[in-house]
Symmetry: C2
Subunit: 286 residues, 2 copies
């Protein structure tokens, strides 16, 4: 079969695969100061955001990614009050963070305001907490912001970034992680999307090394489906400022007073299970 012009295709050149969505029409297109932001209406995945030709987020399946980038970390920290999101301009991560009543402030730092404006128009459900008094939306350089953040001022840092190529690359370096480590209070955590376990194992291995080089004392990876990204399988890797990971606030997760669509306490526990090839490659070598 071949695809006509009514399809958007992203080629994953490094693994020789491609993923395509069938389009109805383009509903947003704006060249920002930084990148080309487009939104399409699709046949089967609802709205679909593309930045510089790269697949970002769709209505149909973003709940898995956004819930898994937030709730496991929030239910692992004993009492997360001050949270920062680096990237995350579609605001879906912010919404999930603010479901936790104990969070007092969540600052989202995405350099490109156009992404958030596009999301407000076409993913309004992701933006429903943008006016929460605990939310602060900044459109500045997240790396600089983190370097300037007062030491010990954050409980949780969530890096909701693009791939580690181009502008996103610096977000995977020890230098950035060191700024995060300094900005975290005692007991603080960082969690960051860490690509596909099947396609990017070497990147995850380097992330583990970079976390440790920056002073983080323990690392663990969460696994979850991600239907519109390469291999359909994704991960997020968490690190803690001191000590080591020892379970999560499971009773609180079971008693949570907000609705989710993918995450629950059983899924949290399940997402931490290491596939055998991953365990052999990373965990056994720690």
């Amino acid at each position: 079969m071949s695809l006509d012009n009514n399809w958007f295709t992203e080629i994953h050149a490094d693994i020789g695969s491609a993923f395509s969505l069938q389009l109805k029409e383009k509903v947003f297109s704006q060249q920002s100061e930084y990148q080309l932001v487009e939104v399409y209406d699709t046949v089967g995945f609802g709205k679909f955001m593309v930045i510089d030709g790269c697949t970002m987020v769709s209505t149909r399946e973003n709940f898995i990614y956004h819930e898994m980038l937030t709730h496991p970390a929030l239910f692992t920290h004993p009492d997360p009050r001050h949270v920062a999101i680096i990237g995350g301009g579609d605001c879906g991560t912010l919404r999930e963070v603010l479901r936790h009543p104990g969070v007092q402030k969540c600052t989202q730092i995405d350099i490109d305001e156009v992404v958030t404006r596009a999301s407000e128009l076409h993913f309004p459900e992701l933006c429903e907490s943008n006016n929460d008094p605990r939310a602060e939306l900044l459109f500045v350089d997240g790396i600089q912001w983190m370097q300037d953040a007062p030491g010990g001022s954050l409980d949780l840092i969530i890096v909701d970034s693009t791939d580690p190529v181009g502008p996103g690359e610096v977000l995977f370096t020890p230098k950035f992680f060191r700024a995060c480590h300094d900005a975290l209070a005692d007991g603080g955590l960082i969690v960051q999307q860490s690509e596909s376990p099947l396609a990017h194992l070497e990147l995850i291995r380097r992330m583990y090394a970079s976390y440790r080089e920056a002073g983080f004392s323990d690392v663990q990876t969460l696994f979850f489906p991600q239907p519109i990204y390469p291999t359909g399988w994704w991960s997020a890797s968490m690190a803690c400022k001191q000590g080591s990971f020892d379970g999560f606030r499971e009773a609180d997760a079971r008693a949570k007073d907000f609705e989710t669509r993918y995450y629950n306490a059983d899924i949290h526990r399940a997402a931490l299970a290491q596939p055998e090839f991953f365990r052999r490659a990373l965990v056994d070598q720690e």
Copy 2:
């Protein structure tokens, strides 16, 4: 981006998505009595089998599917000795079954011998147990075979089928499941691939109903990545002839004396965790 003729594309019309693999060359093509069987060499996924234009199996990622269709069921049954595989002509499922030393006989019933011959040539690693004295390879109609099977003669039935459209459709009906139920001995189990939790929830719901209509007393679903199938996320659903599921032989799974690449006891437990939307749709309504 658009894809030239060096790509194979499968369109998933029901959800408006498509998956493509970049090809090096076609290495096998034979129109059998039943279907067109093709094998390609790909840029990033090794060899890749296509039947009637539908994605079947690739070298790179088939280990996840084959391990998850077999080991959870084999480590759930207390003592599986007699196993039947309906479909499974690439022989990868057979290989995983025969890793269990307690299995005395495993019969694979796939109607099309050409699939197995193609696999022997291009997926030799999947066929490495085809000459095991415990293996029996039959190339006949699996539905008829199951109807003719002596009552109570099997401990485990694995349905490694194509999608429930066309020839595979009958494998999802109460009539077929009733034949399976009759063929199973006391304590027997059936496990069957059950499509994508995100795209095919209604099919899984109907499978649950069909299992129960056929006399099975309990059903549970396993979730795992499946990078080359729609949404990249897949499932298998198990049912038991009597009683209810109550864990698995976890100590045996931890002490297994064969290597796996995805499956281990933690992954087994994790694969059973129900995403919140799935739990609400199926489990709560049981």
